[in-house]
Symmetry: C2
Subunit: 368 residues, 2 copies
Amino acid sequence: MVTEDVTASRRARAGGRDGRRGGRGRAASPAYITRRIPPYEMLTEEALARIEEHADRILEEVGFEIRGDQEAVDLFRRAGAQTKGFRIRPPRGLIRAIIQRSCPPSFVQHARNKERSVVIGGGAAVFAPAYGSPFVTDLDRGRRYGSIEDFRNFVKLAYASPWLHHSGGTVCEPVDIPVNKRHLDMVLAHMTLSDKAFMGSVTTAPRAADSIEMCRVLFGAEFVEENCVILGNVNTNSPLVLDGEASRVIRTYARANQAAVCVPFILGGAMGPVTTAGALAQCLAEAMMCVALTQLERPGAPAILGNFLSSMSLRSGAPTFGTPEPALAYMAIGQLARRLGVPLRCGGNLCASKIPDAQAAYESANSM
Amino acid sequence: MVTEDVTASRRARAGGRDGRRGGRGRAASPAYITRRIPPYEMLTEEALARIEEHADRILEEVGFEIRGDQEAVDLFRRAGAQTKGFRIRPPRGLIRAIIQRSCPPSFVQHARNKERSVVIGGGAAVFAPAYGSPFVTDLDRGRRYGSIEDFRNFVKLAYASPWLHHSGGTVCEPVDIPVNKRHLDMVLAHMTLSDKAFMGSVTTAPRAADSIEMCRVLFGAEFVEENCVILGNVNTNSPLVLDGEASRVIRTYARANQAAVCVPFILGGAMGPVTTAGALAQCLAEAMMCVALTQLERPGAPAILGNFLSSMSLRSGAPTFGTPEPALAYMAIGQLARRLGVPLRCGGNLCASKIPDAQAAYESANSM
């Protein structure tokens, strides 16, 4: 009896076994970060307006090509843009108006475990694992091409980490699986080895459709029609080109009410100007065109304005990550995304080091 | 003749040998950094006003002790503060008014080499070497107490670095020199092995006076009377106490028109509250009292509002540097210093690691 009393009293103090477990779980692993301090406003109103003005001018005067996707070009033509072949020249303000008319400023991406669902946009910050590494490294086997076993291990690691809120997408490239079915194994791993939100295939439109179809099996087709359960991360072919396959991928996600992440990949000096201000204007122009495409395909579909701005060694041509230029650019693109009212995806913990050393640590900290 | 022509033409293009050397020197080694992007405004107007209000309340209700320096206490009494023994209780707003009446918001610290003189305050940022390390480490001899040879080597290293704008002060503690004459060797090293601006002794008032007297030999007494050529970095005995020797050091620098750096050293949980907001209010109260003392001693003397806020492991009592708390506190104290209109000294590249590893790198990057 005494023992039982003590046990009961302990349980009561701790809120019971379930209460205790639940409480600890929530404390150790928040679903995402909610900012309680303001973002850094690096650029003035005037500077931001000039970058926006320049993005509009790039689109109106140079234009943006969606190469090989006549349907996408037609969507822009019917919305009021001039088109010639695959080149689209929207008048100033049109693209911003299309986006602001229907693109949600924030949305929930649902996870298999409801407590892991994440808010994307507004004051929420969601940390996701790295994306797209062709190589993996460990102490025992050194550097090698990634395999599906590595992929599954990375999914498990992200699942175990309380500081990664998302399962990510191509956490490494599993080259031991044939390309035509690789995406199925990748999405399956995210669905079965983690309960966090995840990303689907973007290599072709049918593979994007497969990823979404798998979500319909997991979440139910009706739920998927009404809620975001998967993201697709699409890069432009900077400067100012979107491949027709990529545009069909964007439209596939949008048509299914799922979120396309629209990411210009610009290394200053290679696919864009060396000046950060110029690269920002180009990045904004390209990303806005992709976000607008999602709204033309399905008004109200969730979408994310992305960016991957970095610098290049002008001597060797090598990409240089973790430098001051992208750190400054990310703060500016954050301001531009907030003004546009669209959620932002930023490249995060980047560095130029090839090993996990002190350089990797301080460059990554500066990038974050 | 042909050879001479080519040489002449090369010289002309490069602006002549002297022009070339001068141009490179300036480009590689700016005297200090001039901010061209705004500081991060973390706290709202309302939050800052609450911290200031709380600092005033601490001073009025609890008071601040200058232990053993009756002259300093009398200065505050004559300025309108209540005093009892060594305890000073200024009415709300008095200290801020004393500071804002005469303390310069920025000033020039002159260096032996005029091109190395630094602006302190306003939009200028001056990077100085670390201060006060008792130990030094190298690969050959490992960790040991610092010597004057180490001290001289650190002065030479800071002189050689284009990214350190200042020669610093106690770059390490040279324990092989007797304490009563150690400050003379330290100041001599800064004067002869570097041409950058430097700091003097603060361990006793006569040693502070010696440091200034050496400056009179180097710069001329008249120049020193009119211009800042040396800084003295003085810590309070937090919480809310200033040792009489420290206050006499502050007054010695101020009386000679030289700049006292007034630095509360607060580890949350040891010498102040564990909450960052509470520690900030205490820090502001202590630092303002020291800056006000400089103005009561000599109105218009340059002074710097300092801070060294960090956290403590509440389990072991060990100081923990490089944590998020001081990074947040430094941004807030920056805002408070700008509102007060006094130059700021912040602890910089801090970390909790004992070796130059990845942890040291990312914690230092975050602190900076």
